[in-house]
């Protein structure tokens, strides 16, 4: 049924998802799995929602592939705008297929910069109810924010400390949050190391941390967790 045929008074749900993907060389064994899962994401979410008798009115995905500003600033961040699915599925697929695991040098990587960009994404503010999800896939710890702030192409908008980023993530009644408290979720598939396990998973609201080990990819279970997180909250 087309949207035009739908009763206009129906409750409208908007789902925005930002996938932050570590594209450094160490992710090589698992990146194909991450990419494959990302490409299946829309269909699987639709399927789960339909089984629950639910539907999403608008789904947008954005991808941020990150490496390391300390290794090669020119390839440290590659990202899309929010892409509306299914209408822009081809653009999404083209970008995802183009991500290659390379570079990064030694750990840590620039995961916090990617997270900061994700938090400051242009999230949907309309429709009746929204879900804004950031998913982080990485096998490495992260540089402290601002470590490479002087390098070429380092985004000026990125907070200079993790405390500042925390305030942007926010909490109920926060005056500094840039995301909607009731809409947001942060799902971490990251090692049990700082800053992912502590302080982020420990002290940030609405954060789910599934500790990963280097060499382990996005498995069925992990994709299910993301989809469940979205579907159960609508």
């Amino acid at each position: 049924m087309s949207n035009a045929e739908q009763y206009q008074g129906n409750l409208q749900y908007a789902v925005d998802i930002v996938l932050c993907v570590d594209a450094t060389g160490s992710m090589h064994p698992v990146l194909d799995t991450v990419k494959s899962s990302a490409l299946q994401f829309h269909d699987r979410l639709d399927d789960v929602m339909a089984k629950k008798g639910k539907a999403i009115s608008q789904l947008r995905l954005k991808v941020i592939a990150f490496r390391d500003f300390g290794d090669d600033a020119s390839t440290a961040i590659q990202q899309t705008d929010f892409l509306q699915l299914p209408a822009q599925a081809r653009n999404f697929e083209e970008f995802v297929r183009g991500i290659e695991a390379s570079g990064g040098g030694d750990i840590p990587e620039s995961g916090l910069e990617a997270l900061a960009l994700a938090i400051n994404s242009p999230w949907e503010t309309g429709l009746d109810r929204r879900r804004h999800v950031i998913v982080m896939f990485t096998d490495a710890p992260a540089h402290a924010l601002g470590t490479h702030a002087g390098t070429q192409s380092y985004p000026a908008s990125i907070p200079r400390s993790l405390d500042d980023l925390f305030e942007q993530w926010g909490y109920a009644r926060s005056q500094t949050a840039v995301m909607e408290q009731s809409a947001k979720r942060l799902v971490l598939f990251a090692p049990d190391l700082a800053p992912w396990s502590d302080p982020i998973a420990e002290e940030w609201d609405l954060t789910l941390h599934f500790a990963s080990k280097a060499g382990q990819g996005l498995e069925e279970f992990e994709m299910d967790e993301i989809i469940e997180t979205i579907a159960n909250s609508l």
């Binding site: 045929e5 129906n10 539907a55 599934f210």
Partner: protein, 392 residues
């Protein structure tokens, strides 16, 4: 939280999951040879005691205090010594470790009841009465469950019992009638939500918080009653995203004409658009005085309105998954004392059973069982989606 961690003395024995959990992740745990369920809240986070004073810390500390107070308020209102309170499933622990809040309850394993609609009418009646009694426990103290749906109903059948009984679980999002959370924050399910709940979320000017009452739960209970009796939710035109959307648009839901006249009238009233037109839970219970009310019957052609060709069955949501413990849930409740074992529900007559703030049970029985239990618990799994024979 991850498998192997020890939190508050509880050793986490399974991989934590968000399955069915909303704003929590959960796992099974062990302590002192006993099996438990442990739930980690995703919000709020309590600032560490040694956190430097700042405006941010003060706000977050206040949020944490309010979170604790809200749970205590529900606990105080839902007292285990109230009539029927002997069936309350009580949390055995509630604490914060570091910045995170946790709840613990005994581990309760379950299996799936695939097709409640195939139960005999008397069995259906007992199931519905126990569900209604559970809800009445809340409504009697003016608390709205706020997220009533099959996933939040735990069905129990003792090994030596004849009947299934139902327990209502997960009160994390409950609120005092007329005093709901803000529209952006209020919980609820898009399938089982009441018309006024949806309009409230849409900030419809005609709906204020005072209109979010226990009637919200009655609407959901009406849908669930239809689901349990027939295997499907009431039908509605495909243009509408949910039963509530259809009702808000002035449409009647298509109820299954195999239902008894008494049940059709009851469900019609329970799914009315105006909250005040819906019966109270006591009326629901009173209507379930005779098993015949819960029977399905074959009507002669012409004795009821035929199914609309445009109508399409609404999928039965929230069915249990036929998979391992990872996809299953057990819910905790929040209270200060353990559940008295001596007060386990008796099958006949049905006894009210209310579990405060208790996640849904596993869909399948985990392999490792704890000490021999006299009871088993099942969650309803409506696997049969075949079109029904008639609707009004």
């Amino acid at each position: 939280m991850k498998q192997g961690d020890v939190i508050g003395g509880y050793r986490v024995t399974t991989e934590p999951t968000n399955a069915g959990g909303g704003k929590c992740i959960w796992a099974f745990a062990e302590k002192g040879g006993h099996q438990y369920f442990i739930k980690r809240f995703l919000e709020p986070k309590r600032p560490r005691d040694d956190a430097a004073d700042s405006a941010s810390v003060r706000i977050r500390r206040q949020l944490a205090d309010e979170f604790e107070d809200r749970h205590r308020t529900i606990m105080n209102r839902l007292r285990p010594d109230a009539r029927g309170g002997g069936n309350l499933v009580l949390a055995t622990d509630f604490f914060h470790e570091g910045s995170t809040y946790y709840k613990v309850t005994e581990r309760i394993d379950t299996s799936s009841l695939e097709k409640p609609q195939t139960l005999e009418p008397r069995h259906k009646m007992v199931l519905l009465k126990t569900l209604g009694n559970s809800l009445k426990q809340l409504h009697d103290i003016d608390v709205v469950h706020g997220d009533l749906k099959p996933l939040n109903v735990l069905v129990q059948k003792r090994d030596d019992a004849t009947f299934h009984t139902a327990k209502l679980i997960d009160f994390d999002d409950s609120y005092i009638a007329g005093n709901p959370p803000e529209p952006d924050d209020i919980a609820g399910d898009s399938v089982y939500g009441a018309p006024e709940w949806r309009r409230y979320m849409q900030r419809d000017g005609s709906i204020g918080p005072e209109q979010l009452t226990c009637a919200v739960d009655v609407f959901a209970l009406g849908l669930m009653t239809h689901l349990y009796l027939t295997g499907e939710l009431p039908h509605h035109d495909r243009r509408y995203g949910s039963p509530a959307d259809a009702v808000n648009a002035g449409e009647h839901l298509d109820l299954d004409t195999r239902l008894s006249d008494e049940m059709l009238g009851l469900l019609r009233a329970m799914t009315a658009r105006a909250p005040r037109s819906r019966p109270r839970i006591a009326t629901f219970l009173k209507s379930l005085s005779d098993p015949k009310v819960c029977a399905l019957q074959h009507r002669r052609p012409g004795t009821a309105k035929a199914t609309s060709p445009a109508a399409k069955p609404t999928p039965a949501p929230e069915t249990a998954k036929p998979s391992g413990p990872r996809t299953s849930r057990i819910k905790t409740n929040l209270a200060s004392t353990p559940r008295p074992r001596a007060a386990a529900p008796s099958p006949e007559p049905p006894r009210p059973a209310v579990a405060e703030d208790t996640p849904a049970p596993p869909a399948t029985p985990p392999a490792a069982e704890g000490p021999a239990e006299r009871t088993s618990r099942v969650r309803i799994n409506l696997g049969d989606r075949s079109p029904r024979r008639g609707s009004s």
